[in-house]
């Protein structure tokens, strides 16, 4: 029996249950998504886009799915106190795939802004969800997106109306909580209407030592002249697999900052697909991964310069220790009409051991003739001359290495446009390099 069959059978048997626990706007997409999934199957390494991570293997173990949306006994507000100090955020939770309903959905948000359960919003604000849901995440092109769209029952909707500025950063914490091995299929839909501004921080955490597989599809629509920052911070467990597909569409003169940071994980595959749909838009996409043991981090990004005068800037940095594996593949496509494109892509990596592996594949495809494009990638070790210079000043080998590793990742952290989060990241990264992450001061499940 192939890996897909159990999920195909499951859907055939359970589609009524799935639909019952979701909403019409989401259910409408299921039949097509299911048929695409049957055709595509899970991606294997034979596909160019998935050559560094065998996604199909991740689905092989026998996981449970919580199709009946049984409530897990957890109150995230009780157990999770790792909010960012000195940063006042509106804090929300997703437990596995379901929006935690006790969250005060409207607290502190400007008039008209929606933040809450995608399933519930699909009922109360069906027009919005129907207009945007699944419009970027093409199920006919990607097996994971097809799978997620087939099975996802809930998630989050973040909607910011025209010309509204959400001053307060919003923090969404994804918590994986289960007593048995579990697949969670999350959906996040973000709609920034023209002229709006917001900042969202999404953190991934695991609470239990069982195996988790989280699939996540994020769709982000950023309207004309809107500004949106999306930070994703993963601090999960060695037993977790994360497969996330992010689709972003930017209208004219919009400005988006993406920053994905993997501090601790099992196996992570992040796919980002960006389309410039209007002139003058700017994207800054950053990523950082710190991996050791046998952790895997794979970032795949595709930026489609479909229109003229857009700017994209990418910087991804990896620090790999032990037997960890990193991969970065980035493709910037400059279409024939996309004159005056300004694009920069940089991937720099440190392999601290001979067993750590980094695969990097920076790619540019340019079909316009009046553009400015740059790309580059390096893989190397810490600078021996710098290490010796520091030791000659009395700094121990260990401390000198730490200072150099901070310096290496700092330029990714420094792109964060929230000072409190930047400080927090400096602290977390220091802890991570010193090997005692996961023991924070005020969180009951980190003990």
């Amino acid at each position: 029996m192939n890996i897909e069959q159990q999920y195909i059978d499951l859907y055939d048997q359970q589609k009524a249950v799935i639909c019952k626990h979701s909403a019409e706007a989401m259910n409408l997409l299921r039949p097509d998504a299911f048929s695409h999934f049957k055709t595509l199957g899970f991606p294997t390494k034979k596909l160019e886009k998935y050559k560094y991570t065998d996604v199909s293997k991740a689905f092989e173990p026998n996981y449970g799915l919580n199709l009946n949306q049984l409530q897990f006994p957890v109150n995230p507000y009780e157990v999770f106190k790792c909010d960012v100090p000195n940063m006042s955020t509106a804090l929300h939770f997703v437990v596995n795939d379901a929006f935690y309903t006790q969250s005060p959905t409207k607290a502190g948000l400007p008039e008209g802004v929606l933040f809450g359960s995608l399933k519930e919003m699909a009922k109360t604000h069906a027009d919005i969800v129907k207009k945007y849901y699944g419009k970027l995440a093409d199920t006919s092109k990607d097996g994971v997106t097809a799978f997620n769209t087939t099975f996802a029952e809930d998630g989050v909707l973040f909607y910011v109306p025209k010309n509204v500025i959400v001053e307060k950063p919003i923090q969404l914490v994804n918590i994986l909580r289960s007593d048995v091995d579990l697949i969670a299929n999350r959906r996040i839909l973000i709609v920034m209407e023209d002229g709006s501004q917001a900042r969202l921080l999404i953190c991934d955490h695991t609470m239990d030592k069982v195996k988790f597989l989280a699939t996540q599809v994020i769709e982000v629509f950023v309207g004309k002249n809107s500004v949106f920052d999306l930070y994703e911070l993963e601090e999960t467990d060695v037993n977790s697999v994360r497969i996330s597909n992010l689709y972003l569409r930017q209208e004219a003169d919009s400005n988006v900052l993406l920053n994905g940071m993997t501090l601790h994980n099992g196996s992570t595959r992040n796919m980002t697909q960006v389309t410039f749909a209007g002139e003058g838009a700017e994207l800054n996409a950053y990523g950082m991964a710190i991996a050791d043991k046998e952790e895997r981090v794979d970032n795949n990004i595709f930026v489609d310069h479909a229109v003229p005068r857009c700017t994209s800037n990418q910087l991804f940095k990896y620090v790999l220790d032990d037997k960890s594996v990193g991969a970065f593949a980035g493709l910037v496509l400059v279409r024939p009409d996309a004159q005056h494109t300004n694009s920069k892509q940089t991937n720099r990596n440190l392999c601290n051991t001979s067993d750590a592996h980094m695969y990097t594949q920076p790619q540019l495809e340019i079909y316009a003739d009046d553009v400015k494009c740059y790309h580059g990638a390096t893989v190397g070790q810490l600078d021996d001359d710098a290490l010796f210079y520091m030791r000659s000043r009395g700094i121990s080998q260990t401390e000198a290495r730490l200072l150099l590793m901070f310096a290496f990742v700092n330029d990714v952290i420094d792109t964060i446009r929230l000072d409190a989060l930047k400080d927090r990241l400096h602290m977390l990264v220091e802890k991570r390099f010193r090997g005692n992450l996961g023991q924070c001061d005020n969180c009951s499940f980190c003990k």
Binding site: D383, A386, R391, R393, I395, L404
Partner: protein, 250 residues
């Protein structure tokens, strides 16, 4: 007190130092001169424990301790300091973090508590003023984008912060214009205390106008071939090294 006995060292199998004997007592300033390729920089690298060099024979003791057994960081903790001929740029590591790590590890070695942030910043400011380092340099990444003169001044500043018992200046004067040379020279002579020692490695007399050596050595082909008083430096400045080479019998 530094005592070097019959020191032999090689790099990639090639012997560079071929039996160095040298004693530097507390309070003394020694100049080591010599033509290019004679082994001057190798000597300084070996003294601070550069792993690129292998000591094949001989001994080095520093205040009674076997220096060759110590890690580079512990040699620093014991009070040996090298002003690098080519200071290394470390982009992304701020001077503040770099110096704080260094000073606090020195204090830890001596059993002293780490300095508080305000104590440390005060110390940085005092020493910066003492050696005339621009405050804007102290706020940047270590040597990153510094000019040649700025890098050398930064070396002297680090020397002031760490208060070594023995400072080795490896061609600290090379590449400096007259003004920078004066600042560096004055800085070093200001830092000289009655019980600390100096080894100045140089090609030229000009730095020795500021730092008066008690003893001048000529290093040639991996050996000290001549030792005399400060007048030797002036003689070398006038006559070059050919007469030394002839004396050695080349």
């Amino acid at each position: 007190m530094l005592e070097i006995k019959d020191l032999h060292a090689s790099i990639n199998g090639k012997e560079i130092l071929k039996g160095i004997d040298l004693i530097v007592k507390p309070g003394e300033a020694h100049a080591i001169m010599g033509p290019n390729g004679s082994g001057k920089s190798t000597l300084s690298s070996v003294l601070i424990g550069n792993p690129a060099f292998e000591v094949t024979k001989g001994s080095v003791t520093f205040y009674g301790k076997n220096l060759l057994d110590l890690s580079p960081e512990d040699r620093s903790h014991e009070g040996i300091f090298l002003s690098f001929q080519y200071p290394v740029e470390i982009p992304g590591v701020s001077m503040v973090n770099f110096m704080r790590a260094a000073v606090n590890e020195h204090r830890k070695y001596k059993g002293l508590p780490a300095l508080t942030a305000s104590e440390f910043l005060r110390l940085m400011r005092e020493k910066r003023e003492e050696v005339g380092l621009d405050s804007k340099l102290a706020n940047r990444s270590v040597n990153s984008g510094f000019s040649g003169g700025e890098k050398k001044r930064n070396e002297i500043y680090q020397m002031a912060m760490l208060e070594p018992r023995l400072s080795i200046l490896d061609e600290t004067d090379s590449g400096l214009d007259i003004d920078a040379l004066r600042i560096v020279g004055k800085g070093v002579s200001k830092l000289k205390r009655p019980d600390t020692s100096l080894i100045v490695i140089t090609h030229y007399q000009r730095l020795l106008d500021y730092i008066k050596p008690d003893i001048v050595h000529v290093l040639y082909q991996g050996k000290i071939v001549k030792t005399a008083g400060p007048e030797l430096a002036l003689e070398l400045e006038k006559k070059g090294y050919d007469w030394i080479k002839q004396e050695v019998g080349e």
